[in-house]
Amino acid sequence: MGLTRDATGAGAVDGGLALRRESDADRVIALAGNPNVGKSTVFNGLTGLNQHTGNWPGKTVASAQGRCGTYLVVDLPGTYSLLAHSAEEEVARDFLCFGGADATVVVCDATCLERSLNLALQVRELTGRVVVCVNLMDEAGRKGVRVDLDALSRGLGVPVVGTVARKKRELQKLVRAVDGVLAAPAAPPLRIRYPGAVEEALAVLEPVAAEKAAGRLPARWLALRLLDEDGGLRAAAEDYLGGELRTDENWNAAIARARAILRERGISSDRLKDLIVSSLVLAAEELANDCVRCEHTGYSDADRAIDRVLTGKWVGYPVMLALLAFLFWLTIVGANFLSDLLAVPLFRVQALLTALFTALHAPDWLHGVLVLGAYRVLAWVVSVMLPPMAIFFPLFTLLEDAGYLPRVAYNLDRPFQKCAACGKQALTMAMGFGCNAAGVVGCRIIDSPRERLLAILTNSMVPCNGRFPTLLTLLTVFFVTGAQGPLASLQAALLLTGVIVLGVGMTFAATRLLSATVLKGAPSSFTLELPPYRRPQLGRVLIRSVLDRTIFVLGRAAAVAAPAGALLWLAANVEIGGMSLLAHGATVLDPFARLLGLDGVILMAFLFGFPANEIVLPIIVMAYTAQGTLASLGGMAELHGLLLANGWTAVTALCTVFFCLLHWPCSTTLLTIRKETGSWGWTALACVLPAAFGMALCSLTACAARLIGLL
C-alpha cells in the first residue's frame, strides 16, 4: 500500500511502545515476524488501521498499536531472531518476554517458510500462547510451494493458520485461533535439541532456573539465555523476577558447573552462540522439510529475468533513470490536465466571492484578507500543487509495492560505500521523495549509528512531494521551450529527472563531506534482503493513495496555506511609512537574495514556507499579485507573464529551482530529526547543511550568469 497519510508528516513520528489499553480487560496480542512477511498488512487487516506497507524489509521501524475487538494488537519491528543483536530485536524480545503480551502471533512467509520458522521456533521456546500465521499463501501457491499446515501445527505444537492478508481473507480464522489459544491452557514451551555438551550444561542449570523463574518464564529458555552470558537480558530478567541472580549461591554454583562442562568440551562463549543459532537454523530446516513441498527450488526464473533488467551491469542505471523520468512524465501529463480542470472553477468561485462581498458592501480589507488572501492561496495550492502530488505519490507507491526500492539500494550501494555510507541510505532517500519526515524515521533501518546519522542529515536533499510541484512548475514555465503537447511534457520530465539527479549527487557530496569531517569512519558491514517481486495491488493502491494524498494536501492547505495567505495579504497591504510590510521585508532580504540569484520576495517565501513547502510558490505569486498587478491567475502562461513582469529571468528560475531543492528542511522534518537524533546540535546541522549547499550552488550560478552577462 505504500506510504500512507498516517505514515507521513507528523504521523511519521513514532509513538513509542507504551501500551494504550482502554480497560484492564484488554488482552494484548503481539505481532512478531521477519521483516517483509506482510506483518503490517496483517496488522492493518486486523485493526482496520492504515500502517505504511511496502515490499521492502525494515519499513516498519516504529511499533504500532491498534484495536481488534477487545484485543490490543501491537505490531513489533520485524526481526529475524530474538537473540537481540540489534535495537529492534531487543525491543521485540523484551516485549515478548517481559512486556506482558497475552498471546503472540508469529507471522511467517509461506514462500520462504524455513527462514520464518527460525523466529517461530524461538518464540515457541519462550511461550506456549502462540498462533503461527503463514502469510502470502497465494504467492506461495503461484510459485508451486505447498505448505502442510497440519504438519506444521504438529511440529510447533500450536495452531497454524494460513492467510492471504493482502486480501483480508482468513484473518477471521486467525482471530478465532487467538481466541482459542487464550481460552485454553498454554502449550508447554518447545524444546529445541542442542548439541550434547550444551544439553548437559542445561541439565545442570535448568532445575535452578525453574526455581527462580517460578513459572513466570520457561526454565529452559532462561537457563539457555543466562548460560549465553547475555548481560542485558540478565539484568532485565532480574528486574522482572525481582531478585538478584548474581548474589544467589545456588545459582552461582549451578552456572559455574554448567560453564565448566562447556569448557571441558572446548566450547567457548562464541562457539556456544554459534551452536545455539545453528541448532535453531537446523531445526527450522528439518521442520520446513517436513511440511513444505516445492515443485521447483531456487530463485524463480521470472525474478531472475527482471533482475537482469533492473540490476544489470549495463542497463541497471539507465533503467533506473528511465523509470524515474517515465513516472515524472505520467505525473506531468496528468497534472496538466487536472490543473486546467481545477483552475477554471476555482477562480470562477473567487469571482463569485468577490461579487458577493461587493453586494454585501463588505469592507475592502475583509475582502482582501479572506478572498484575495486566504482563498486565493488555497485555490493555488489545490489547482497547481495538488495534482502532481496526488499523481506522483501513488505511482511511486506502485514501484514500492512491486519490490523495486531494495533493488535501487542494491544498485546504489557501491557509490554510498565510496562515501563510507550504506546502500540502505538509498531506501531512506526514496522514502524522502514521499515525505522527508518519513524518510528520517526510515533511517532506523540502518544499523550503524554513524551511517544512520549520515542518512538523516542528508535526507532533505531529495525533494519531497511538497516541493516538486514547485520544481515542476518553474521548469515547465521557464525551460520547456518550443515544444508542444506530449513533447513538452517529455522535456519537462527529463529536466525534472536532471534536478533529482542533481539532488542525489548533492546527497553523495554531502555524505562524503560529512564522513570526511564530523562523522569519520569506515563503512560497516552490510546485508540487504532483496524480496521477490510482487504484482502491486493496482486498484487499491491507486484509489487509497490518491485519496490519502488529496486529503493530506487539502488538510494542510486549509491549516497552513489559507492562514498564510490571509497573513500575507495583510503584510502586502498594511503600509508603514508609505511601504507595505511585505515590501519592507523584501527590501531587507533583497541584497542577500540577489547574491543567490533570487529576490527578496522569493527568499521570504521560502522562510514563510517553513511549515509546509507546498505554499512557497503560492506565496511568491501572492506577494507579486497583492501589489495589484493581477486580479486573477489561471494558466501557466499568466504565471510566466507575472514572474517576468517582476523581473524574473531564466537564471532567477534556475536559482529558485536549486534553492527549492536545497534549503532548510520543513519544520516537521526538523522536529522529527530532533526526535530521532535526540540532539539539537545534529538538528541544527541538518538545517544548515542543505541550506549551505543550496546557497553555494545558487550564488555560483548567479556569479556565472553575471560573468557571461545573463543577469
Binding site: H85, V277, W314, Y410, R414, G423, P523, T527, L528
Partner: protein, 81 residues
Amino acid sequence: MSKTICLNELRPGQRATVRALRATGSMRRRLLDIGLVEDTEVECLGRSPAGDPSAFFIRGAVIAIRAADGADILLAEEAWD
C-alpha cells in the same frame, strides 16, 4: 581436501556450501540469522551494476552481501555451476 574459496570469489551462476564464518561480532550474528551455518548451500545470482555488492540465494531468500564482508565467509569444496 579440495580448495577453499570465499563467498566473494563465487561467480554469478555458481553454487557452493558454507564451511565457516570468519566474521565476528554483529556481522557474524547477522550472517547466522540469515541461515549461513555450516553446510548451507549458497548460489551467486549476480552483481550490482557497479560490481559490488553481489546477490546470493540463501535458504530461499535473496541477500546482497558486499565483497569485503563476503571475504569472511569461507566456502567448502569446489564451487559448481
